[in-house]
Assembly symmetry: C2
Homo-oligomer: 409 residues x 2
């Protein structure tokens, strides 16, 4: 009953008997504390949540949304209410190519639109990962990538991050010791650590990836959320062997997660297999959303919109930093230059104690070990600052402070 | 280089070298002739297509769509433009439970909303299928199911269909000879054969599934497209062991495929694993579409809407039947009672010859062997009647007739 042990270890089934019917793959399926927390906070409005990566929906202008949907229904019905190309809606691809490829040389690449960047991760896991595949991940790592890759049972190998990216000696040692097949990285405003790699490290890692023939999955979900509009060149842009790089982007953080639209820049030699696998997954991405967002991007002054969300997030970030400095002077974090999180280390306290305490006080943050392959003894929490209004942020930090004080004193 | 041979067999890669990097799983990924044809017909408007399963987008009332999107933007922004519950939007689940479960006893079941019914198939493939799993399929079978299941490398076993469902003796023999793990069936207006199982056969198959402990994946995408509104009880409703049944539904054929919304009725003992796997695939289904369609269902007189599309499709079907009887008296088909296809047998001609001829004449249908595990020598084509206006249908049938005449004379 090998299978059963596996399954019971990583998910608690409602009925053990169900396990007998499930594939071995299921033992790799992970739950997400974030999603569980999201459910709690939706049901109980007294909860204050620093947990989700929720953009503020009020940053989208209502008038523009109304215009974009009207245009969709009046002028684009035949496309919007029909099946579509499995690689995505042509006009939206043009918008992405024009505005969201960060000056990348697209020669030899195609844009494939996916059902959120998460679907891009799941498809790349499907292609490249199986039992025995060595997959290198940053430590800490984006939880959604673990959820997407785990069912395919690769060996995960962790690469600790420094404040400007990976330790290069350590990285080279890993490459020497083990045949690494894929490297998944989130080099700009990483979720959860907020670390942004230096250009120097991007160049050097690119050279190592070339030397060791490693597939790069570069997740740039936060690229356009730099508070000062800095756009970092992708690791991929420094590679000689560009054919082994996939770059992932998303509209979730810059427009809205409600449209569930992301994209993957796919080397053409993998385009056919990507398209066919996408078909198997869902035939094609939501046409209605693709058309609406295309109209929205035509109507919207994009630069102004990005400026607006960046300055809003910067302001929110500064407020949370002030609150934490005021109420929780013992904790430490690297002040982020973009994104929507702080990655906060709480000294002299166990993660489980903190978690228990904050849930009781109806405030939530995501425990750091959710983002790790090997559990860490240090207690980190990821705190989102994009969602809560300022007064609620303050109340939330006060509650966290009470819990922390109660434990350490 | 076992892997390479596998891969090259089922997909033709642009660069052989790419194969070296792909997982063995990729060898199972199938392309879809239907999607290739769709692309051709989009690019060249002279093509007349009987190929897709495309509903007619004009059956959706523009005014209602405008109202539904306005309500979404004005009243439901916080839900529509945000992340959501991985099992779906609560209000849409209520609509499904109320109007689209065909009186099923929902005790012990939960509704999970998916990115089209195709995603339901992919998730169920992920859970239940791996190398060595015996999966029973109808012959012919829905191509999308093959695309969803194939990457997981199960053994497919074919069950030939009679005009009222499977041959029961044959089915029992299969169960005796092999341990069948899952049975995928599309018992009402099957795509592509248009066959609808008799109630008697549903009952008997349910008993056999119970006796042999088989998981049933019951795909009811066409249930509500019966021309006379007949709703057949699901196979699942006759099972004692209901816990081993998943029922799949879709809004694509009755509202619009543009919203990419389907659902799975999931036995509660599998709910947690379903939810977690869904998270790994895409976090959650498109919230914007879920909210719009919820408003649409509240605004829309559903019975009238279904009556309208049914009578439209019946009318279209009758016209295609008349055309075929007039121009192509040699071919044979079972007159369908619902759905959007004819499954037409062309005697004395090879599938490949017909296919070559019709592409030259710029008319397309889907070759029957696309829907089979083992190729058949009989030449079948699936012809859609829901999409083309009548004049174009006639022109299309004339072109098909010319090709057929040229070959057989």
């Amino acid at each position: 009953m090998d299978r059963c042990i596996y399954v019971c270890y990583s998910i608690s089934m409602d009925t053990d008997c169900a396990n007998l019917f499930l594939s071995k793959r299921v033992s790799g399926i992970r739950s997400s504390v974030i999603r569980e927390i999201l459910k709690i906070t939706v049901k109980d409005s007294e909860f204050l949540s620093f947990a989700g990566g929720l953009p503020n929906p009020n940053l989208l202008e209502k008038e523009l949304l109304l215009q974009a949907t009207e245009k969709t229904i009046n002028d684009s019905r035949d496309v919007a209410f029909q099946y579509g190309d499995s690689t995505g809606y042509e006009i939206l691809k043009h918008h992405i190519q024009h505005s969201f490829t960060n000056g990348m040389d697209m020669e030899g690449f195609s844009i494939c639109i996916t059902h959120g960047s998460q679907q891009g991760l799941e498809l790349l896991g499907k292609f490249f990962m199986e039992e025995g595949t060595n997959v290198l991940l940053e430590d800490p790592v984006y939880l959604g990538a673990l959820q997407a890759f785990s069912p395919y049972h690769p060996n995960f190998i962790s690469l600790p991050l420094e404040s400007d990216g990976p330790n290069l000696l350590e990285l080279e040692n890993i490459f020497i010791e083990k045949k690494i097949h894929c490297f998944y990285s989130n080099p700009s405003h990483q979720n959860p650590s907020t670390i942004t790699w230096s250009i120097e490290k991007r160049k050097k890692v690119a050279a190592l990836l070339d030397q060791y023939d490693v597939i790069l999955i570069e997740d740039e979900a936060y690229l356009y959320l730099d508070f000062f509009g800095t756009l970092y060149p992708s690791i991929h842009s420094f590679r000689k062997n560009r054919d082994l790089s996939f770059v992932i982007g998303s509209f979730s953080k810059i427009i809205s997660p409600g449209f569930r639209l992301g994209w993957v820049l796919v080397p053409n030699r993998f385009l056919k297999v990507f398209t066919n696998a996408k078909q198997g997954n869902d035939l094609n991405t939501n046409q209605f959303s693709q058309v609406v967002i295309s109209h929205l991007l035509s109507l919207m002054p994009l630069v102004d919109h990005l400026d607006k969300i960046r300055s809003y997030y910067l302001n929110q970030k500064q407020y949370l930093v002030e609150l934490i400095n005021h109420y929780l002077p013992e904790v430490s974090f690297q002040d982020p230059k973009g994104g929507m999180f702080l990655w906060v280390m709480f000294p002299n306290v166990l993660e489980s104690e903190m978690m228990e305490g904050i849930l009781e006080k109806k405030v939530v943050m995501v425990p750091g070990n959710e983002f790790r392959i090997q559990k860490s003894d240090s207690t980190y929490f990821r705190m989102n600052f994009s969602f809560l209004p300022k007064a609620e942020m303050e109340e939330g930090v006060k509650r966290v402070n009470q819990v922390y004080r109660d434990i350490i004193t």
